[in-house]
């Protein structure tokens, strides 16, 4: 099932290594890590809500979490004012290994 998707920045601060490990592993299944505790994920609304639900089950109230949706325009302009290779886009829909 295909749906409309957007790039999301997902940033977190987690106070306990055990919870951090769980959240980190979960997020790796959804996208790439850009920096420590900053991920980017290519999500539909459905996937976003699922991810948030799964994260909320792991995190507690003293952890921080923020999801930021980037518009297509935001993502297009990113290379203009950043170092090279900060936001690499792959594509093609296939991978030969």
């Amino acid at each position: 099932m295909a749906e409309l998707k957007n790039w999301y920045l997902i940033c977190y601060d987690i106070r306990c290594p055990k919870r951090w490990r769980k959240a980190y592993k979960l997020l790796e299944g959804y996208g790439d890590r850009l920096q420590y505790s900053i991920f980017r994920c290519w999500l539909s609304q459905r996937m976003r809500e699922k991810l948030r639900w799964e994260l909320e089950k792991i995190l507690t109230l003293d952890d921080d979490l923020i999801l930021i949706r980037l518009s297509a325009q935001c993502v297009k302009d990113l290379p203009k004012y950043n170092r090279q290779n900060t936001w690499i886009l792959e594509g093609g829909g296939f991978r030969v290994i």
């Binding site: 790439d32 290519w42 809500e49 699922k50 296939f94 030969v96 290994i97």
Partner: protein
Amino acid sequence: MYTLKPQETQQITEDTLRVCSLHAYAYCPRLFYLEEVEELYTQDAAVFAGRRLHEEIDNKENEEWLDLYLEDELLGLRGRVDALKTRNGETIPYEHKRGRCYRDENKQPQAWESDRLQILAYCYLLEVSLGITVAEGRIRYHADNVLVHIPFDQAAKCSVETAIQEAKALRRSPYRPAVTNNEHLCTRCSLAAVCLPEEARLAHNKEWHPTRLFPQDNEREVIHILEPGTRVGRTGEQLKITRRDQPIEKLSVQQVSQVVLHSFSQLSTQALHFLSYKDVGIHFISGGGRYVGSLDTRQGSIQRRIHQYQALTQPDFTLSLAKKLVYCRGESQRKFLMRGKRNRQESLPIVEQAIDQIKAVVRLVQNSESLASLLGYEGNIAALYFAALPELLTEDVSENLRFAGRNRRPPKDRFNALLSFGYSLLIKDVMNAILTVGLEPAFGFYHQPRTQAPPLALDLMEVFRVPLVDMTIISSLNRGQWHESEDFDIRGQQVWLSESGRRKFIEIYEARKSEKWKHPATGYSLTYRRLFELEVRLLEKEWSGEAGLFGRLILR
């Protein structure tokens, strides 16, 4: 706490209905049927957001909420009442909804009909199973923060009982209900991409202009593992790909739609379980490029396959489908030859002759009386087509890459090696679509069962042979993309693609799959990747009372 699988983990008894299925029934009977009978269950964003809402409420007000799993055989209902408040000795079930409430003419907040039925069903279930009196249920709409009181009286009881009777009758029925007339329901429905309401309306009304409810493409990647000795494993939520003398590659499972293992690479059982849990297709292709098989993890879809058997055991029906198929392929072949002729300066007498003859045979297809005669016509068309096909190669293509006619098992020249490998990749994709939709690949309508491949997959493949494989091979040869010694492996009489040749072919083929094509019958553009699945769903519509859209993918 709310667990991942709400009611499914419980022992399911034969006859009771889940309360939330009543909600679906009131929303749209067809949705109820798809979920309960055909067991197509998707969770959309609202479901997860709703679960989170429940979590938050749990966390905020831990002390006064109860959570009960109730079932009553007499009433025929089961469900989880997860918000129960007791005030002054009265028990009041609550239902939390994320959305907005319905406003009547006077702008007064009211409950939506389906929500109302759901909360009343909870009231009834509580009364019957706990032996208490419930005076009302309440629904809180969080978007506009409204609390709606729903009185539970005799009339309400009657409406719940009626709904249960109707829903049960529908559950026993072998027929899928028609698409609802209220289009607004479909735009918010999580099963729209499966139910294809717009296409169903189009089948009944040719003037209808479908507004597409789903995007053009599925962006997840197909992972081809070509190098023998590669190991595919699982780590956390990722796939781990280990190769000799190479750094380990990790892919998030969200980006993967299929894993295709060529020759002998290893896939760990952990990864296999993980991929099937995430609905990722797993396919095997031999080192020589023959399609070996796929992992089939469907546990449900029994009803859909029963419908398929019933439909495809009627000779007249299968004949009409087979006619559509042969016509579709023949026309595509003819159009492709015409295209090739147009693009060339010099005249190609052989091609022109073939075009005229194919046209004559295709005309006969419409009036054929039996599958046997259809097979004959198809053979005639194929012979004409493959005799004319070499003419479409330009002068620059070297003698070694040319061919005379089709041969296979094993292919005897380079061109046929390309065709064979292309058709293997194609049948793999068609199989993937069939398994995704949940039909039975072994039960077709045109190809006779043989040991070679599942008949239904072979049937559906006919639609895509010309646009996806034949066209890509001819144009890549004309562009001079093939190296006659490096890309091929010649063993006596047999010709295979070498490692680099397979790699190159996969790249060309996958690039072609991501091109868009306007579907002639429905009028919107989709990539070929999505067209596979759409075509399988349209085929299923042929016997679900919304016929007329299958097999119309013909080149212009």
